[in-house]
């Protein structure tokens, strides 16, 4: 391939070219307009970076990498090309670095990419714990520290927990419901390729004048409208992460509604499918609100609008209302898919049907609805309308009821089960205990007077990590271990997996447990220094945090080594009933030869001879199929 051909064919060369061209275009636009109006200085680098690097360049990259090629061709109205499936499925490792429409490839792309950002965010946490190991300033100045915790949280939330769930679901859901792919495979690819833009922006913010955005992941106005350029990287980055998230959620909803296998009624769907269905509803409805809140900040910063200037008629608290109207549902976006994973793992490894299957599904729906009615419990100390406090306290406590239904149903599923303590099961059990603790501290925080006492202390940090690490991340580990054989066709090392679990479980508690105590004592969060009286606990927390961080290396080694050299996995190593386990490991490139028929529930463990889905009789399939048999075009447009 000549260099010129490389620059015009979809791929990394064209992506680099597109990025550069669009950056130049955006920059020229800014300079041109400023010249036209005679503004001084002509080269306003804040504006050039915002328009050129943050807004224009990403589109150049997306076009260059090849996300839009098909649509450009389609829009031009030329004759329809027959689908040759050349962009579907991975035949070598290089295919993972191209725009690919196969949901299995996209799922793995998601998981590996988000792991990279997980490591980046984790290293920032390590640096923060190093700084906090003793009072005073050791390694970083306070402004850098503020940048560290802000970028840490933003990466973990927008670039790890939310998208890694999308990755796992991408791989598993179409197989689970008996679909050959997602409903919109090209949109699916676009969703994935938008994601790294957000992450790269957030990381890049460290290198601009004034340092990384330092306003926390919540970026409250008017602080965020007055901070240096780094803030802009968050404000725009979130838009790309949000757009990616909405597009994926829309795709899941359409796939689950329109592409289920025959016989797969809603009440025969595995609970992971239910979980992603409800999560996707939340994403589609709530995510535009964070887009809105960041648009206001962007406009206030760039165009001098006054959404948050009280002197000019603006309303500062409006930011928090709009932001939390997304960001409270977002904590369920970060938890419901994990609930689904846990239901799969527990019922498979306890060899019992999920207790109260319908209530498990209904409680997901209840969480979606109640999730929209609790946002202002984040604002008890903000000075909002005081009459809103008690209603928000009550709804917040109410939401513990559907969550409690789920916890007790899992416990009842375990009751008198034949429990196999494999790594995913250990993480599932760890999840139940840790998430319950985090849930209980959540109930404590719902109580207005207690919340006022511990607002902006380490109690909040402890709570968020018990629900997001002990909750979400444990379910992510459970899910990755559970489906690792299916994704890679190889088995992970069980001993290393168990070691990873026990180390992370013990040191997770030693890291975040004491934070409750220092929090109630009044140690403020988001500050680089602290009073002498918290020194002992903080030293213990930091040492635990380092071991906790190191335990992740075991996971990483296990995954990489097992992927390369692990023993081959059977199609169904866990003897699970759901459809993804009834195909080979890894699954065939088009998932199925023919779509299976669902004949029963997904969790009929313990019933002799029970099956969830059957494939058609083998006899007709063994007769050589006529040319073009099964060659229907994929459901794409």
């Amino acid at each position: 391939m000549t260099f010129a051909q490389r620059l015009t064919a979809p791929g990394w060369y064209r992506a680099a070219l597109g990025t550069a061209l669009m950056f130049a275009f955006g920059g020229a636009l800014v300079v041109g307009v400023r010249a036209l109006y005679g503004w001084d200085p002509l080269f306003n680098w804040d504006a050039i970076i915002t328009v050129g690097a943050l807004i224009a360049a990403p589109f150049g990259y997306l076009v260059g990498i090849g996300c839009f090629d098909y649509w450009f061709y389609w829009a031009s109205g030329r004759p329809t090309r027959p689908e040759d499936h050349s962009g579907h499925g991975a035949r070598s490792w290089k295919d993972y670095f191209r725009v690919n429409t196969d949901h299995k490839v996209i799922g793995i792309q998601y998981i590996v990419t988000t792991m990279f950002f997980f490591i980046a965010g984790g290293l920032m946490a390590m640096l923060m714990r190093a700084e906090l190991a003793q009072p005073g300033t050791q390694f970083v100045d306070p402004n850098t520290f503020n940048g560290l915790f802000s970028v840490h949280a933003s990466l973990m939330i927008f670039l790890f927990i939310i998208p890694v769930f999308a990755g796992i679901a991408n791989f598993v859901i179409p197989l689970m419901i008996g679909a050959p792919d997602m409903a919109f495979p090209r949109l699916n690819a676009l969703s994935f390729w938008m994601l790294p833009i957000a992450g790269v922006m957030m990381l890049a913010s460290f290198f601009v004048e004034g340092g990384a955005f330092a306003t926390g992941w919540t970026a409250y106005a008017p602080l965020s409208t007055e901070t240096p350029l780094g803030q802009q990287f968050f404000t725009v980055g979130v838009q790309f992460a949000g757009a990616s998230s909405i597009a994926t959620a829309l795709n899941f909803l359409v796939t689950i509604i329109t592409m289920r296998a025959p016989g797969m009624t809603f009440w025969r769907m595995p609970l992971l499918v239910w979980a992603n269905f409800t999560t996707s509803l939340l994403v589609v409805i709530a995510t535009p609100f964070i887009a809105g809140s960041q648009f206001f900040v962007l406009l206030d910063r760039s165009l001098g609008t006054h959404f948050f200037t009280p002197g000019a008629g603006g309303d500062v608290l409006m930011y928090q209302h709009v932001f939390w109207f997304y960001s409270h549902p977002a904590v369920y976006i970060m938890m419901l898919p994990g609930f689904g994973i846990i239901s799969e793992v527990i019922s498979t490894n306890a060899r019992k049907p999920v207790f109260g299957y319908r209530m498990m599904a209904f409680s997901l729906v209840a969480i979606v609805i109640l999730g929209f009615t609790v946002w202002a419990h984040h604002m008890f100390v903000s000075g909002m309308f005081s009459w809103l406090r008690v209603p928000m306290m009550i709804t917040t406590m109410l939401i513990a009821v559907p969550t409690g239904i789920k916890i007790f149903s899992w416990l009842a599923t375990l009751w008198r089960g034949v429990i196999h303590l494999r790594t995913p099961m250990l993480f599932a059990l760890g999840f139940i205990t840790m998430f319950t603790l985090g849930g209980i501290s959540g109930i404590m925080l719902a109580v207005v007077p207690f919340d006022i006492h511990v607002s902006d202390t380490y109690f909040i940090v402890a709570h968020i990590h018990y629900v997001l690490f002990g909750g979400s991340v444990f379910t992510i580990f459970a899910g990755i271990y559970h489906w690792f054989p299916k994704m890679t066709g190889r088995m992970y090392d069980e001993t290393l997996g168990k070691l990873h679990f026990w180390l992370s479980f013990i040191f997770f508690n030693l890291t975040f447990g004491p934070m409750h105590l220092v929090g109630i004592d009044g140690m403020p969060r988001r500050v680089a220094d602290y009073a002498e009286q918290y020194a002992t606990w903080n030293a213990i927390i930091s040492i635990s945090a380092f071991i906790f961080g190191a335990s992740f290396l075991i996971f990483l080694y296990n995954m990489i080594a097992s992927w390369r050299h692990g023993p081959a996995a059977a199609a169904n190593p866990w003897r699970a009933h759901s459809i993804e386990w009834q195909v080979s490991s890894p699954p065939p490139i088009f998932n199925f030869d023919e779509i299976p028929t669902v004949v029963g529930g997904p969790y009929e463990y313990g019933t002799p001879g029970a099956v969830h889905a059957v494939f058609k009789e083998k006899a007709p399939a063994q007769v050589p199929a006529p040319a073009g048999g099964g060659g229907a075009p994929p459901p794409t447009e």
């Binding site: 389609w74 829009a75 289920r260 809105g292 406009l299 200037t309 409006m318 169904n572």
Partner: protein, 209 residues
């Protein structure tokens, strides 16, 4: 064990039939995927407008900052009303174009789409012209910020709608679409109707109320 043998057989078959492509997906809903996708996209668009209307509500009602006319500057209601008429009539021509596609009347499809596109473009031009002659910048106060913010957001949606219509028009002139297969007209059409209906809300909250 039955499942294991099926899986093994599956893998073997996959090698032989790989070039044939995927099996046809089961259709588990009467609603078409593209139609449903557009509806869900519109739901999320509604929520984005919802965020902007929330800003409007907080600034006008909660903060009691007042509304136009501010310092003697008012919004040109009459021009905007005429402009609304132009935009809303484009929904009718859109429907006409779609009916043309359904009945196999290519001329009606082409003229309908072109007219819709033209009306949308006219709306946008008048809107930009209004911006130029308003006499207050976006950075004057919170009310002007909300005014430009909401109308600008809507204008951006008109641009997206016009892009989709542009694609449909190009394809209509290059011989695509038939009475059996006209999803590429129908789906942008839904979006266009959404943009039109949204304008009714934007217009009545900003200009009339």
């Amino acid at each position: 064990m039955e499942s294991a043998s099926i899986a093994a057989g599956h893998a073997a078959h996959d090698q032989e039939h790989e070039h044939h492509g995927p099996p046809e997906a089961n259709v588990s809903s009467r609603v078409e995927a593209q139609f449903l996708g557009m509806l869900l996209f519109i739901v999320s668009e509604l929520m984005l407008f919802g965020a902007f209307f929330t800003a409007y509500f907080f600034i006008r009602v909660v903060a009691e900052s007042g509304w136009f006319p501010i310092d003697g500057q008012d919004l040109p209601v009459a021009i905007a009303a005429v402009n609304s008429g132009i935009l809303l009539s484009s929904s009718l021509t859109m429907h006409w174009a779609l009916e043309g596609a359904r009945r196999g009347n290519r001329r009606a499809l082409q003229v309908g789409l072109l007219t819709t596109f033209g009306l949308g473009l006219t709306f946008l031009t008048i809107q930009v012209n209004e911006y130029v002659h308003l006499g207050f910048p976006i950075s004057e106060n919170a009310q002007t910020s909300v005014f430009y913010g909401l109308t600008g957001l809507h204008g951006a949606h008109v641009v997206v709608g016009l892009t989709l219509l542009g694609m449909a028009t190009t394809r209509a002139f290059r011989g695509h679409y038939s009475p059996e297969q006209h999803r590429g007209v129908e789906v942008p059409g839904i979006y266009w109707h959404f943009v039109d209906i949204m304008w009714i809300f934007v217009f009545s909250t900003l200009y009339i109320l």
